[in-house]
Symmetry: C2
Subunit: 360 residues, 2 copies
């Protein structure tokens, strides 16, 4: 074979291909040329950074001696676009939040895409743009990824898995097992916005509302709370942070009550729920306590920190409706109870059965 | 409400439930009680370790100052059970191998499951057992996870994403961009076993063969090679390790040739392919060079290390058929060429189009 042919092939290979395809094909998951074009022509355009740009099968980076947090979530939300966000924004913020709840500063994310054959590239671009924006807001980088394509009907449009690594820079040791009698229960804002949005976006009920998903990154809100506690030399008063996603606040509080072997008492009248969400939930037969949130946190903190932390949270855009919704009692352990608006008391159990599949 | 009622509820909540359900339901992805029972009654039984057992939304662990490798892959293989493995074994070994190819010792994995409503729990148990065994063989721990359930028809049975973190304990800086003219190309064993197995397992062709997937963890094989190079004070002679999965050895070598701007020449007669695989590939119209492997590695190493490394690899159960299949030349850069068994030379291009979807 002549060296001229080699050179011609070489030149063709080096040409940068603009990614012009309109739909995902099985070839995009083949490992071969089409996949490389998808990754180099599209994914890198949105996520490029020195670690990812190397295009190795793994990212390599240095860490100082540190305590790291590590988490994963798959996102299968339906519909993939909804008021206030999309599956991409959710996939970044959800994992950022799971890191933030340990007090970690999120550093690096992985992203694994499962795409259905025929998925429109324009939709993929919107999702990637959303992921880039969300990652930018939290200062995290997508440093390693994977793309699989399944035949038409083998998956529903697009599923995204993200995992994340963060560094815990304080001496905090937050845990669902650390709630103590006397602690206060803080909530960063209104309940039920995300789940109600998804339910309405499915269009099975013809409701017209202005409700939007609360999908948001909570890392800087948590950082503000940590700073406030540190300023008061009371870091050890922060006991547990959780984001009440699937299963809602009711399920999250039950997890904490069980892990800490305490009773958590909340006041129904103090739990903030938007009027539109309240209305939609009534029509949909949902209890906002069990509806998923994607930009809210529950914090269990010592009583003396509660008011200053709420004041601090309210200065943050994602904490303007922050409030104290209850407190931690010794017994009965493992139970969440609620003083209702009518003056009674009822047990708030963990979500039984399913309320709404594919919420996130 | 009487405290007796509270106490009765409390006792009921504390009882350890044996997980007795037979099929996945949407409730198992709800975030509520059914999901907790699945996680505590099933997942923890297979994966339990101190980091996972905490059941927080993230694993927290200390690391010394270190160079870390981080990777992710989603697994959508069809069929999910095949000769030589299943989707679970693949999900652990695939990610372990992506870490090992950077010279890292794999430490921690995440596991994200997307389950189709109706998926049999017995199949899930088999997959979890396989994952546990594979993780045990490589000394890695699944420390964080996630479960989503999609409605019947929304996904095909089960998809698994794993991500992984490993620590690079040597000064190695392996990269597809580090191949140098004069280097030798090593291959750890026979080509095409995994892809051919999957193709046959789909049952579209009624072939009866003894071919099995080569699915295996390569970390200890790599460690042996690193030790051999260190013993000879020649660590810098190890330039690039890659596992030739989707797209096969042809695609992997093209990636290296392009990244390193070198020409890679291989000898067809030296590339080991099992007779049964060769026969099956002929019937199926596949070229073993493009067929996926799940337990093989390609190594680009300096010439003086090639023979001692092959000798060392052959002592390892996953390297008994190791051999030198070619070498690195200066030009034409970005090209892989092959001297055929008939005395000719041909360009071995990257896989174009798709050969076999859902191979891993």
């Amino acid at each position: 074979m002549t060296s001229t042919l080699f050179q011609r092939v070489e030149r063709a290979r080096r040409r940068k291909h603009k990614f012009t395809e309109t739909h995902i094909t099985l070839a995009h998951g083949s490992g071969g040329r089409a996949m490389h074009e998808l990754i180099e022509g599209l994914f890198l355009e949105y996520f490029h950074n020195p670690l990812l740009d190397r295009l190795e099968d793994q990212a390599v980076f240095d860490v100082a001696a540190a305590r790291l947090a590590y988490t994963t979530d798959s996102y299968v939300v339906s519909p993939i676009f909804f008021p206030g966000g999309d599956i991409g924004k959710l996939a970044i913020n959800g994992t950022v939040n799971d890191l933030a709840m340990s007090g970690a500063r999120p550093l690096y994310l992985s992203a694994g895409f499962i795409l259905e054959e025929g998925f429109p590239i324009d939709d993929l671009k919107k999702i990637l743009a959303s992921m880039r924006n969300a990652a930018g807001e939290s200062g995290v980088k997508v440093v390693t990824g994977d793309t699989k394509v399944v035949q038409k009907g083998g998956a529903d449009q697009i599923f995204i898995n993200t995992s994340g690594i963060g560094v815990i820079e304080s001496s905090l040791n937050l845990s669902a097992a650390s709630a103590q009698p006397g602690d206060k229960v803080l909530l960063s804002g209104t309940l039920g916005d995300h789940g109600t949005t998804i339910m309405i976006a499915r269009g099975e009920l013809e409701l017209e509302t202005d409700i939007e998903s609360d999908c948001a990154p909570l890392q800087s809100l948590v950082t503000g709370m940590i700073n406030e506690a540190e300023r008061r030399d009371a870091l050890s008063g922060l006991h547990c942070f959780r984001d009440p996603t699937r299963g809602g606040v009711a399920t999250t509080l039950n997890e904490i009550a069980l892990s800490s072997e305490v009773c958590i008492e909340i006041e129904e009248g103090r739990v903030p729920v938007r009027e539109e969400v309240k209305g939609a939930c009534e029509i949909l037969g949902l209890d906002p306590l069990y509806v998923a949130n994607e930009g809210k946190l529950v914090a269990i903190v010592s009583a003396d920190l509660a008011e200053p932390l709420v004041a601090r949270m309210r200065q943050h855009p994602y904490g303007v409706d922050a409030c104290i919704i209850g407190e931690v009692k010794i017994e009965p352990g493992g139970i969440v109870s609620m003083h209702t608006a009518f003056g009674g008391t009822r047990i708030v159990d963990m979500l039984a059965g399913e309320q709404l599949p594919r919420i996130c």
